[in-house]
Subunit: 154 residues, 2 copies
DNA sequence: ACAACCTACATGATGCGTCATATATTTCCC
DNA sequence: GGGAAATATATGACGCATCATGTAGGTTGT
């Protein structure tokens, strides 16, 4: 006991700045997206995955791998998106347990309409003013921490 | 129109890695904290602020400034924490509209018990394996983006 | 071929976060 | 000093996220 290595001053400040930055940034992005196109960030991510998929169709477990979401979160979210007509659930031929999530026309229209404004906002609030090096560093740090998380997963 | 500058490959990868890293990291921290001490990350942050305050007391608006939360989020969260006995709401003498949030004994015990495990987890999952330089640069990037957010706030 | 197990997915309960709105004070200014 | 505007806080409604659990359909080993 009492072997805790507390964060020093710089670590604490860096940590808080990082947490706060992410929070403020996603709050802004979320509001912009919601206000301009009626989508949440979560909606957007789901639609991106489906748009990138052949035929706009994915099995829920594929979506889950792409998004790294909890299974039940995805299921609930799909239910809500389905209710709003952004996606449809279909039966899966190859696997009786399974389902297929399909992008609807409305879903496609929604993300096509939303994407430019969203990307502009990401650029304006985040990338503009950061150097390539800074972006590369952030990427590197992110991957490192992700690796660490995976390594400790079991 | 059509003037959208889309994210190039590296930007897109960096962005997704960053978003995913934060999500996975806070999910882990949240679970550890919840499992080991029954607190959410949000609880923890509130308790930290109160612990750092003289007498363990703060006005809600001071808490809000420290946390950078939405006012109603804070209010709701305080209600829940109050129900669990972690904080108490008191009347404010100097301002008839105001309130004072006070750390209870149970609240103090909770954060004292939770802190070592939480800090260890933050260190293990995040700081260990990052160099001082990487931390410093992340800090710098975070502050830069925060500045950008503030500048665009109006 | 059948039991044990695993996988894909859904759902109910509950805590969390945001928006819109309400209410009670101050504060400001003429 | 009295009304307008601003400030401090609370609340109801509703979508979102997680946990625990359920169910149906596959897979594997004997």
């Amino acid at each position: 006991m009492s072997g805790t290595r507390w964060l020093d001053d710089e670590e604490q400040r860096a940590w808080r700045a990082f947490i706060r930055m992410h929070g403020q940034l996603t709050a802004r992005l979320s509001r912009q997206l919601q206000a301009d196109s009626g989508l949440s960030l979560a909606d957007y991510e789901v639609l991106v995955q489906l748009t990138d998929a052949p035929d706009g169709r994915l099995r829920p477990f594929e979506l889950q791998r792409g998004l790294q979401w909890e299974q039940s979160r995805l299921s609930h979210h799909l239910t809500r998106m389905q209710r709003r007509g952004l996606v449809a659930r279909e039966e899966c031929d190859e696997d009786g347990r399974g389902a297929v999530v399909a992008l609807t026309d409305a879903g496609r229209r929604a993300i096509v309409a939303a994407a430019p404004g969203h990307v502009d906002t990401v650029r304006r609030l985040f990338f503009d003013g950061l150097t390539r090096d800074q972006v590369a560093l952030l990427h590197q740090v992110s991957d490192h921490v992700l690796g660490r998380l995976d390594a400790t997963a079991g």
